[in-house]
Subunit: 438 residues, 2 copies
């Protein structure tokens, strides 16, 4: 039998056990920090030259000039044209569905006018330029290009700059094709902390962006956290996780495979099944055991399931929801009858997959919602990547003379109370009769 | 004459000069980092006892038990009752206006159903618990309590925990009154990195929150950046700034005082005036020189204006807007005729104060929009604090059998292309005829 932890919500120390199961600390390695800091400093000082040097060294490429690291639009178009018909159609359908969903997230400006003519509101604008990091090599995911670039386009970002390393000169055709479909404006075959530094501070060739999004390894994540402030960044993601709540009526093979689909990402990924049906937990473990050998990534799956997976027996679906709200899972499958009746009770989750037919994998590619989701319990306070991440708001305040009169008195009183005399005087100048009621 | 830098947009090196003027680096002092790391670790390990110890040491207080650090609701009510009539009315009016404005920011859940019955949407929920840091001592600002707590309440946050240090036992009555008005649920008289750690990880007495907001000194800011991930945080603010664009027709005394109202915050604050009218720049400098002596914070103002202030001469209002978009100011005053005609050209700003009567100070207290705004050019990618900072979204995906069939084929194709077999199989199980078109 495949090795997987069992928890029982009736145990006295269940919540402590659960907390231990979830614990995950991103260890900020001192050596990684120092080397990333050094790379960022060098790119800021030496610009394009540093990008060429690092790319030769880290990506094992023969490069003599930054121009060789520009991937022209023709190359993207060529990648798209070279796809087999099925792959191209799947990519196009996914892109269209993602666009449809994200169009509904777009936020609009608003204003209102008060009785005395004072206007208040919020002006919503898009970022000028976004940077998109795409990992190279094996973990090259075209779906990730779509999920990051399309919301930016929908927001109205004028220019999307994509960076994708080409280790040993290798580039993934589907990644380039996805960039073409998503409308990415410029692509550079650079990666690592050096690419993040180039996007954050700009070089003669790589334009400086306003925000950097997209997944990456520990060097990329560390670089993103270090340039935050100079530019915006998306979340720093932890390992991927799924929580499945099942009433025991779904085919155990389906649930086993859903658990595997998280586990195959990497050894740190976390797959948890919660059910009030103990026999069903047994059946799923049995299914996993049988299905494992069919998986090309069996070793990764086995390690992930053994180290971080769990089967949790609860008393009821109500208790299952309670467990879910504690975990605030990145992916939550409600594999139950009438999933809609439970929706209002879900307090925290990145994405909620409702019903037996809604495999989480559908959301990863083409349901339309974003697959960049808050991990490691951060769904308690954060949201899926969305159009709103590429828009920002400016408050609008217009005071009529009457409004300035009225508000000036309030502001003056509070400013004096805070000991800020210039604030008070600045407000008082606009009080027409220049007299404070007191 | 008061000392202030002059720039001219016609100079060849104007944009370089401007860049230098704006440069501001938050130096992350190694000693501060180490000491904050130590405080956080100690609070995590020792809980309430550590809070008592640090409060005795850093706030110079006689405390023997954590219970003494709880500020009961009766104390808040007493503070509110003790205010003089004018102050209480001003605070109540400000709170009401802030609430009115922020009610318009509340985001609602949405769903849509596709032809085959597949449902997609987004569920918006409030954070369970928010932590509000309020500085103690001299820089105790009741307005800041309103601006941070009211959006959380409007969002529907169930519990707001406020921390405010009481150095030498001193608490600001207006701060406590503001907490009462804003509906803060629990208040502790603790501060510094220890208060941030308590909110982030919880102690026996201080509840663990989901997000920490509010301004603080370098220890507080460093602690917030260190606990980020375990909890959400708002932005780490730089010094306050104002950019005023004036056509030269506003009373120079008014503009001078508006510049002072930023400068009086601290020596690092930045006040910049841009005008196509060189004589007006002279007149404002003259006004500043005359008004300075009337300011209780004259020394701070003088230093701030000399070190970080500027008068910028431009050719036209169009060019002034170009300068503003480069700066992406926290506060932007459009002290011009017909300010609405310029609004659409503003790409980046925290808050836009339109017209001669709209002093920035009105926005600080009572216009209704939030006074917590992106500083240091981060308005390029971030927004004022708002209700949306206390809400988060969960994607909703419900596939009908037909939908799972249709989407399963796309997902399967893309998953195989990415080499993720478990993803593909998980999708394929839900394809009813279990046949892939190929």
């Amino acid at each position: 039998m495949i090795e997987i932890r069992r928890l029982n919500a009736l145990d006295n120390d269940f919540w402590i056990q659960l907390n231990t199961l979830l614990a995950w600390d991103s260890v900020a390695d001192e050596q990684v920090m120092l080397s990333v800091r050094d790379i960022i400093r060098t790119v800021r000082q030496q610009g394009d030259g540093a990008l060429v040097d690092y790319t030769k060294r880290f990506d094992r490429r023969e490069v003599s000039d930054i121009q060789e690291l520009i991937i022209p639009t023709e190359r993207l178009q060529q990648a798209l044209s070279s796809l087999d018909k099925n792959q191209r159609r799947a990519l196009e359908q996914a892109a269209e569905r993602i666009r449809d969903y994200h169009l509904r997230q777009k936020q609009e400006s608003w204003q209102y006018t008060e009785a005395d003519g004072t206007v208040l509101g919020q002006q919503v604008t898009a970022l000028d330029r976004a940077g998109l990091y795409v990992p190279g090599g094996k973990a090259a995911y075209p779906s990730s290009v779509l999920m990051n670039a399309i919301p930016a386009k929908v927001a109205g970002v004028a220019e999307i700059i994509m960076v994708v390393p080409a280790p040993d000169g290798l580039l993934n055709n589907m990644v380039l094709a996805a960039a073409m479909l998503a409308g990415v404006d410029k692509v550079f075959s650079i990666g690592g902390a050096q690419a993040v530094a180039a996007l954050a501070y700009g070089t003669a060739t790589v334009p400086k962006v306003d925000k950097i999004v997209g997944p990456g390894n520990i060097y990329v994540a560390t670089a993103k956290s270090m340039v935050f402030g100079a530019v915006g960044i998306d979340m720093i993601a932890g390992p991927s996780e799924i929580l499945i709540i099942c009433d025991g009526e779904t085919d155990p093979d389906w649930i086993a495979m859903d658990l595997f689909s998280q586990a195959e990402h990497d050894e740190q990924a976390q797959s948890i099944l919660v059910s009030p049906d103990a026999a069903f937990l047994d059946a799923v473990q049995q299914s996993m055991t049988q299905l494992l050998s069919q998986m090309p990534r069996a070793e990764i799956i086995k390690t992930s399931i053994a180290q971080r997976g769990a089967l949790i027996h609860v008393e009821s679906l109500e208790q299952a929801i309670e467990v879910s709200n504690f975990i605030a899972p990145e992916h939550l499958e409600l594999s139950v009858n009438e999933p809609k009746t439970w929706l209002g009770k879900i307090r925290h989750a990145g994405a909620i997959f409702m019903g037996r037919y809604t495999a989480e994998a559908l959301g990863d590619y083409c349901a339309g919602a974003n697959h960049v989701l808050p991990t490691s319990r951060t769904a308690r306070f954060s949201s899926p990547l969305g159009v709103y991440d590429f828009q920002k708001r400016s408050s609008i305040i217009y005071c009529s003379e009457d409004g300035a009169n009225r508000l000036g008195k309030i502001a003056s009183t509070l400013a004096h109370a805070e000991g800020l005399t210039a604030h008070a005087r600045s407000a008082e100048y606009r009080i027409v009769q220049n007299l404070l009621e007191s």
